[in-house]
């Protein structure tokens, strides 16, 4: 692939991320289910990492992490490294232990979301923000409701992958 092909490929992936971001940032927060809003950006990283592998997963995770930190309120920098690392790990796991399928993406997304919520709960416990039961009342529904959106995100990025993914060109 030439440099131009690579730019074209990641431009299409970025366009694929656009509706996910708009849904995540502006549409879904207006209609929470039982007060819970899903997290779609980590799912996008999971889908791309499973489809494209560890290296691309790291780069995409870095980009999505930057978006999360800079365009969303309340960030403290950790998401960039976390999502880049998660992208690498999920890409490697899908290459060696799982496969490029929806089930592989679902397992990776579950692991990523669980780790993300685990880190948040640990941080909240560390700063003594709330009791464990109160934190789990937020973390568990968030994890489950986010996971429900995996098929939609997977289908979107698989469509992008079928068009420009791997070494294919549009």
């Amino acid at each position: 692939m030439t440099r131009r092909d690579v730019i074209h490929k990641w431009l299409v992936y970025s366009l694929g991320l656009l509706p996910v971001w708009l849904l995540d940032a502006y549409i879904l927060p207006r209609c929470p289910l039982f007060g819970v809003v899903p997290m779609l950006l980590p799912l996008a990283v999971a889908a791309v990492a499973v489809l494209e592998g560890a290296y691309a997963g790291t780069g995409f995770g870095l980009g999505v992490g930057l978006l999360w930190e800079l365009a969303y309120p309340g960030g403290f920098g950790g998401s960039v490294f976390f999502l880049a690392l998660a992208g690498m790990a999920m890409g490697a796991v899908s290459q060696y232990a799982l496969n490029q399928s929806f089930v592989g993406c679902l397992i990776c997304a579950a692991g990523e979301l669980a780790l993300l919520d685990f880190l948040r709960v640990t941080r909240m416990l560390f700063i003594n923000a709330a009791s464990l039961s109160a934190l789990l009342q937020v973390a568990v529904p968030e994890f489950l409701w986010s996971l429900v959106w995996t098929p939609l995100v997977w289908l979107l990025f698989r469509a992008v992958y079928n068009r420009v993914g791997g070494t294919k060109l549009a």
């Binding site: 950790g78 960039v80 490294f81 937020v138």
Partner: protein
């Protein structure tokens, strides 16, 4: 993984780590001021955010008109009744004010006077996380909005406090957010406490009035206002009403659960108090 190592994947991870540290340090150093990167990104996406918010508000309005017409009619009737009652209260309040002024003059006290400088702002974004309750406004430092400014509705009900301000946007931590901490007072009994966001109450849209005095006799429905203690935030802003009084699990202190007077989900426009004075 071989591809990852061959293609300098480690370098990407190092870049990610450095960016994380840079943003983290920037956030910590700048406090309520937005870091330059966030500011640039948000300046660019603010018009997009405003457009989406306007479109979503329009869709909600059409939906409400089509599917809730009967409810709206009922609500209008209720509001007319409420207006009549409020007009009566205003008349009574006016009488009380005159009497109060006379008493103050009699006692030689100077009336407390507050001067608020307002900046109206449209809400362009809402919390995208289940771990915090924030609003994004379409105005920022270029309009004089800064971190620490109180945000109220048009009726003077407290919405929250600005925690971060960029050039044309700002983030408001709502009163139910876990980082909320300000002096509160129960209007009927003058019992002072500390208004605090609580994690388990946040998702129910409520907050706590902590550290109540031992003898405080609160009842459900008591109005809670900001006390203005410390003169960081204005006093007398309506926060909400007491829903119930409970004892801390330690058994040491009592706290009240407060139902905010503001409905955060339906807010469209708010007012930022950019400046206020307390003249004793």
């Amino acid at each position: 993984m071989k591809d990852f190592l061959r293609q300098n994947g480690i370098l990407l991870l190092v870049i990610a780590l450095l960016l994380s540290i840079l943003i983290g340090v920037g956030t910590a150093v700048l406090g309520g001021q937005a870091d330059p990167l966030s500011n640039v990104v948000n300046v660019v996406i603010t018009p997009v955010r405003s457009g989406i918010a306007a479109a979503a508000d329009w869709v909600e309005g059409v939906y409400g008109y089509v599917f809730h017409y009967g409810e709206m009619e009922q609500e209008l009737d209720d509001l007319r009744t409420q207006l009549g009652e409020l007009e009566e209260q205003v008349r009574q309040g006016e009488e009380a004010r005159r009497e109060n002024e006379q008493l103050r003059e009699l006692l030689g006290l100077q009336a407390r006077r507050r001067d608020f400088t307002f900046e109206d702002a449209r809400i362009t974004g809402r919390s995208t996380s289940n771990w915090e309750s924030t609003l994004t406004l379409g105005k920022g430092t270029s309009h004089g909005v800064g971190a620490g400014d109180c945000v109220v509705t048009e009726t003077g009900v407290l919405v929250g406090v600005v925690t971060e301000a960029g050039a044309n946007w700002s983030t408001v931590s709502t009163i139910i957010n876990t980082d909320t901490q300000m002096g509160g007072i129960v209007n009927r009994t003058y019992s002072a406490g500390v208004l605090e966001g609580d994690f388990s109450l946040m998702n129910q849209g409520k907050l706590k009035l902590n550290y109540l005095p031992e003898g405080a006799q609160l009842v459900s429905g008591d109005e809670v206002l900001t006390s203005g203690r410390g003169e960081v935030f204005p006093s007398g802003l309506v926060v909400g009403r007491v829903e119930g009084v409970f004892t801390d699990p330690s058994g040491q202190t009592r706290y009240a659960v407060v139902e905010p007077a503001v409905d955060l989900d339906v807010l469209i426009k708010v007012f930022v108090i950019k400046d206020f004075e307390i003249a004793e």
